[in-house]
């Protein structure tokens, strides 16, 4: 089966899968960073790795990029000039309140469909789409239900697996036996994590903490809402669009007040005691939220910025997290 790769949570895996293609959400690796961009100041490390990974990827049939952030939008320009992999740039509106913005998102899904059929995909019937959505929805629900039974790292891997492998293989990750308890209850908030960043979960646990809210883009915050099962059969595409565009909250939305409402609800319900704010150097969208988050929340916030992955930075991050945990314990 042909694979379509992407990273943005606003790309519905179900839509790609319903076209008979495999939706492969990339979990990026610092090591894949595009060397040509390494000397260019100002490029976000995540974007650098995305470009590097796509350039090297020999298995994918196509890549979907979105306009959610400016650097990703411009990464598309690099890819279509330097890479033979067919690429699609999907407009994801920043504004979300108006009917026009919602319609634009749906129109973009239809345009994505034309791209996918051009790569050999098959335009899905409503029944096919509904079936795929049901599968994903069930798996997502299983992952969410298993949250309290999994270590934070295992939970993050389950979410990553759903994006990368699809619903079939994900359930292996969520066979848990007993609830995980203890540790200082923490949230991790920010953009997407990369593969190496998953070590943070273990580091935090070793330091006496536990991530009870993964509000990164690759974590729970990047999961769409559960589908309305009745509407799923009547108007599956509309339901899909509502669940993704209508429910995934991000720093890039204008206004992004819903992100803070979501955070307020989740931080309170999970009795979070501290926040780890993870951001990439040159990611303006998340960086600008740091001070606001500190003002918004009464909780202590630890800012962990990253310019890439190297031993010195790992050591610095380790020390900062340990100091933060000592303060909270």
């Amino acid at each position: 089966m042909k694979t379509i790769i992407y990273t943005c949570p606003y790309v519905p895996a179900e839509w790609i899968a319903a076209h008979g293609l495999h939706a492969g959400r990339l979990l990026l690796d610092h090591a894949e960073s595009d060397p040509a961009l390494a000397r260019t100041e100002g490029v976000c490390p995540f974007v650098r790795s995305f470009i590097g990974e796509v350039m090297k990827n020999k298995r994918a049939a196509g890549v979907v990029v979105t306009t959610v952030c400016d650097q990703m939008r411009r990464a598309f320009d690099i890819l279509i000039r330097k890479c033979s992999l067919p690429a699609f740039l999907m407009n994801v509106p920043n504004t979300w309140q108006s009917f026009e913005s919602q319609k634009l998102y749906i129109d973009e899904l239809k345009r994505l469909s034309r791209f996918l059929t051009g790569l050999g995909g098959k335009l899905p019937s409503n029944d096919t789409l509904a079936g795929i959505m049901l599968e994903y929805d069930t798996t997502r629900a299983s992952i969410l239900a298993a949250r309290d039974y999994l270590s934070a790292g295992r939970y993050a891997e389950a979410i990553a697996s759903l994006g990368r492998d699809g619903p079939d293989k994900t359930l292996d990750y969520v066979t848990a036996v007993e609830p995980v308890i203890g540790g200082v209850r923490l949230a991790i908030i920010g953009g997407p994590l990369m593969r190496q960043d998953f070590a943070l979960f273990d580091l935090i646990e070793q330091s006496g903490g536990r991530i009870v809210l993964d509000a990164t883009e690759t974590g729970e915050r990047g999961l769409c809402a559960g589908f309305d099962r009745r509407r799923l059969h009547d108007e599956p595409l509309m339901e899909l669009a509502d669940a993704y565009f209508g429910s995934i909250q991000d720093a890039s939305r204008r206004p992004n007040s819903e992100l803070y409402k979501w955070l307020q609800r989740e931080l309170a319900s999970r009795q979070v005691q501290g926040i780890i704010f993870r951001r990439y150097l040159w990611c303006d969208m998340w960086h600008a939220e740091l001070r606001r988050l500190k003002d918004f929340s009464d909780l202590p916030v630890l800012d962990i910025d990253t310019a890439g992955d190297n031993e010195m930075e790992r050591q610095r991050t380790t020390n900062r997290i340990r100091a933060f945990m000592e303060m909270l314990q």
Binding site: L37, T40, E41, G42, V43, V47, T67, C69, D70, Q71, R73, R74, A75, F76, D77, I78, I80, R81, L89, N91, P93, N94, T95, S98, E100, S101, L104, D107, R111, R114, A251, S252, R254, P255, N256, L281, W282, C283, D284, M285, H287, A288, E289, L290, R291, R292, K294
Partner: protein, 460 residues
């Protein structure tokens, strides 16, 4: 009185001003000696070099009195509308209302330069978590907090979507501090697909009709909001008249650019040309006076060109400049190093292109908004730069990086590559902070190297 065009210092302008006064030069009510602006804290003016014409004096005075105009408008009961990021589209509509004065708070990005960091705006931005990793437009945040540089607008409009992340994030921070913002969306401009109706936009780009329709729907929202703010209805006739007036500004600017960039002897310095181009964005809070200022500047340039006079040597290296500079002094520096500007792309070419007058006016504005070079791909932008390099005969390209700007790192590379593919000309990237003093020697050396390279290539 000497009528030889030349670049002079602010001190020299004192004498020149007396000469012009004695000669009976008429000045508008905001006129006066340039040196008086130093009292407002505009220290950078002491370090700039200016064109010595009466037209340039009027241009500078017009620019440096904008804050006064905004306060006068507020005192007169007119509505102040802050338009952010779209750089040129919304003001065309806003100035169709009798009771609106529109301006760009974005323009605060020059305050740290003009006041040589004396206003403390960047420190305020720092304290709000918007540090130097963001573009200098973060000064806008400080300007809103102090309220000392422009009246707080009655309404703030901000375009998002296909914009730079810096501005979008800073505007969101402002919103998070309690400032209401009317957000509107410009999607990333893309090429029409085979089954879509294509629309040719001003400036030469194209987009699918559905995107034009989408932006039109956004502009309809803005129109309704402005109508509610003022209680005045904006019909098609009024909007068409406003577009005609905006086009007059653009026609003057097109002629100015043509003469300034193609004349054998450069008739107007780069700095005055940069300011003239900026007037197209929001008319410096007075649309009619913008037309008058540009007309006088154009008359001066035309007379110089026909008299064979200029402000630089005939052999000046012909440089195409990409992106606006945060420190105005760099425009002087290029000329000091033996270069001249022959083509510009300051990120608002869509504010210079003629707006179509033969289609419904709101659709025309939607086309203009979509033609924004920031809204499309870097490849589109590079293609337009290439077309203008050819048109103006530039011998080199200078890309001025904006510190921290989300678009500069990646698009600079694309623009360089595409220009190199199409032309065998040197390209240089420099980064220009709000005050360049500490970096001046290195920037100067790089500019000199570019100019020397251009001149050496002429001999081979």
């Amino acid at each position: 009185m000497s009528d030889i065009p030349k670049r002079i210092t602010l001190e020299e302008w004192g004498l020149r001003y007396e000469q012009l006064e004695k000669a009976g030069t008429c000045q508008p009510d905001y006129g006066g000696p340039l040196s008086r602006h130093i009292e407002d804290g505009d220290q950078r003016l002491l370090k700039l070099r200016y064109d010595n014409s009466a037209a340039a004096l009027r241009l500078w005075n017009f620019l440096l009195t904008e804050e006064d105009r905004l306060h006068e408008a507020r005192a007169a009961g007119r509505k102040i509308v802050g338009t952010m990021k779209d750089l040129g589209t919304v003001p065309v509509m806003a100035y169709c209302f009798k009771n609106i004065v529109a301006f760009y708070p974005d323009g605060a990005w020059w305050i740290p330069c003009v006041m040589e960091l004396g206003a403390g705006l960047l420190q305020i931005a720092d304290s709000l978590g918007i540090d130097e990793s963001f573009c200098p437009v973060r000064a806008m945040l400080g300007a809103f907090v102090t309220g000392a540089h422009f009246p707080i607008p009655d309404m703030l409009l901000c375009s998002v979507g296909a914009t730079c992340d810096d501005f979008s994030a800073i505007a969101q921070r402002l919103n998070g501090l309690g400032q209401p913002i009317f957000w509107w969306e410009i999607p990333h401009r893309r090429s029409p697909e085979p089954d879509e109706i294509a629309v040719n936009l001003p400036g030469g780009f194209s987009a699918p009709k559905c995107q034009v329709e989408f932006v039109k729907s956004q502009l309809e929202r803005i129109k309704a909001a402005l109508e509610e703010l003022t209680g005045e209805k904006l019909d098609e006739q009024k909007l068409s008249a406003g577009i005609k007036k905006a086009n007059l500004v653009r026609k003057y600017l097109a002629e100015l650019r043509h003469f300034a960039f193609t004349a054998e002897l450069c008739p107007m310095p780069a700095l005055e040309m940069l300011i003239a181009e900026m007037l197209a964005i929001h008319f410096c809070s007075d649309q009619q006076e913008t037309i008058n200022v540009l007309k006088e500047l154009l008359d001066e340039v035309t007379s110089r060109v026909f008299a064979g006079k200029g402000i630089l040597d005939a052999g000046a290296a012909r440089i195409f400049w990409v992106n606006p500079v945060a420190d105005l002094q760099v425009m002087n520096l290029l000329e000091d190093c033996g270069g001249r500007i022959c083509g510009t792309e300051y990120l608002f070419t869509h504010a210079l292109d003629i707006i179509p007058e033969d289609i419904p006016p709101l659709e025309a504005l939607a086309q203009m908004a979509l033609a924004d070079p920031m809204a499309g791909s870097s490849i589109d932008r590079a293609d337009r730069i290439c077309a203008d390099i050819r048109r103006f005969g530039a011998e080199a390209v200078l890309i001025s990086r904006i510190p921290g700007a989300s678009h500069c790192a990646l698009e600079g590379r694309v623009i360089c590559e595409i220009v190199q593919e199409k032309f065998d000309i040197p390209i240089l990237e420099i980064e220009v902070p709000p005050v360049i003093d500490s970096m001046r020697p290195s920037v100067q050396t790089r500019l000199q190297a570019l100019v020397e390279t251009v001149k050496a290539r002429r001999q081979t």
